[in-house]
């Protein structure tokens, strides 16, 4: 029986104006497996993660996520894919608890009174639950973004530089969370410059240079 793919890219390209951020990229990630995405700044890692998340769409080529075409099937995909990105997606003037509560309601989980407090507790943000995100440090924002990802319980988790801005305890916690997601069958795509750390957490590696797949060695 053919292996089910969480992500399947066939000759995908993405252009911004005159610049090609990704050029004829092909790869496949089996469901439940994890992928390490490496490459220099501007190599196309973030663009690729955004394409998989359906935040943006390929200019050419075919991208399928969980068996759905990324553009045509985005409505079916989005509930099962979560992205932690450089942009936190939070409302600065809402508190941490209000931001998570809003997400919970949109996800149809507004009726679970313990959900938000438990996630905040888990991410070490309980004491700042009622502080507006505007007052948060970069590390706290990242923790809040991860709390939102966990709330979604995704089948595909996309993590763009997840260790950035975190303190050593936070990095350790993040490693634990990635392993926990994997144990639940979630496919993790992890973009990081910390190659050794990333390799210890993933099964496969894709190295990008100028938007193209290249030999990592």
């Amino acid at each position: 029986m053919a292996e089910q793919l969480a992500v399947e890219a066939v000759d995908i390209s993405k252009r911004f104006g005159a610049r090609w951020a990704l050029a004829r990229l092909s790869f496949g990630l089996p469901q439940g497996r994890s992928l390490l995405l490496t490459g220099h700044n501007g190599s196309g890692k973030t663009t690729l993660l955004r394409l998989i998340a359906t935040a943006s769409f390929p200019t050419a080529g075919t991208l399928r996520v969980l068996g759905h075409d990324a553009r045509a099937g985005r409505d079916q995909l989005r509930p099962h894919v979560a992205l932690v990105s450089h942009a936190s997606f939070h409302y600065e003037d809402l508190t941490a608890a209000q931001n998570l509560t809003l997400s919970a309601k949109f996800l149809g989980r507004g009726g679970e009174p313990n959900l938000v407090p438990e996630l905040l507790e888990r991410m070490g943000l309980s004491e700042r639950a009622d502080s507006p995100v505007r007052q948060f440090s970069a590390g706290m924002r990242k923790r809040l973004a991860i709390a939102r990802l966990l709330m979604k319980a995704p089948k595909v988790a996309l993590l763009d530089e997840p260790f950035g801005e975190l303190d050593p305890a936070g990095i350790k916690q993040m490693e634990g969370l990635i392993r926990e997601l994997q144990s639940q069958g979630t496919s993790v795509v992890l973009a990081t410059h910390l190659v050794e750390q990333g390799q210890s957490l993933t099964n496969e590696r894709l190295h990008l240079a100028a938007g193209r797949k290249v030999d990592a060695s």
Partner: protein, 230 residues
């Protein structure tokens, strides 16, 4: 799509979220109140002390003050969505883009409507108009006008939110589209504040309603294209 929650419920959450942010900061409401008060005051000085001229011009100046304030308000409405790419976050949550449109339109419209109510006593003081002639119709005109400004305003402020010259772009896109609506709103307001022997206000109200429905329908159809990156 199989949305987790129905469109109107999601729109209501978006609207409540906007109110929640506004209530926390009160920045937008404060700014537009002072801006439009200044506008009304300046226009009344420009016209001079003649009561009849002031009364005749009051509906136009009231809607000009609301129009100018709406540019400030609409721009701010999408500044909070572009900060941290919150709009993208909503779309990916996932929230149906059309629910975001409906929620944002009525969030913006409610703010403009509140502003228009705040401006009414000031208009009485500065332009000596009579609000007791048809108060309910006047409130209806203000509500329909606020929705009519907010529907295309929401689409255009989303388009211009990430543009380099967004403060210039929004009025450039918005004002030409709003001219027919404003003509109807000014005329309807005039016939609620002044004698209406030929009972024309009903016709203007129907026209205002028609413009609202057209703007809402077009925005509802177009907004997903605006909210999502290509």
């Amino acid at each position: 799509m199989t949305p987790k929650i129905p469109l109107l419920a999601a729109a209501w959450l978006v609207l409540k979220k906007d109110w929640q942010i506004e209530w926390r900061t009160r920045a937008r409401l404060t700014a537009i109140i002072f801006f439009s008060l200044s506008t009304l005051l300046l226009f009344s000085f420009a016209v001079g002390p003649d009561i009849n001229t002031l009364r005749a011009h009051a509906p136009g100046y009231l809607w000009l003050a609301l129009l100018f304030a709406s540019v400030l308000s609409l721009g701010e409405s999408f500044r909070i969505e572009s900060e941290n790419q919150a709009l993208t976050g909503l779309v990916l949550t996932p929230v149906e883009p059309r629910a975001i449109f409906v929620g944002k339109v009525f969030g913006n419209a409610s703010l403009l409507f509140v502003l228009s109510l705040v401006l009414l006593p000031v208009t009485v003081a500065l332009y000596d108009v009579d609000l007791s002639r048809a108060p309910l119709q006047l409130v209806l005109v203000l509500f329909l006008g606020s929705v009519g400004i907010s529907a295309p305003g929401t689409v255009y402020s989303a388009i211009s939110a990430n543009a380099r010259a967004r403060d210039v772009m929004l009025p450039l896109l918005l004002f030409p589209v709003l001219i027919p609506l404003l003509l109807a709103a000014v005329s309807a307001t005039r016939f609620t504040l002044q004698p209406d022997p030929q009972e024309q206000v009903g016709g203007w109200l129907k026209l205002l309603t028609a413009f609202d429905l057209i703007y809402l329908s077009v925005g509802f159809l177009l907004f997903p294209k605006v909210a999502e990156e290509d």
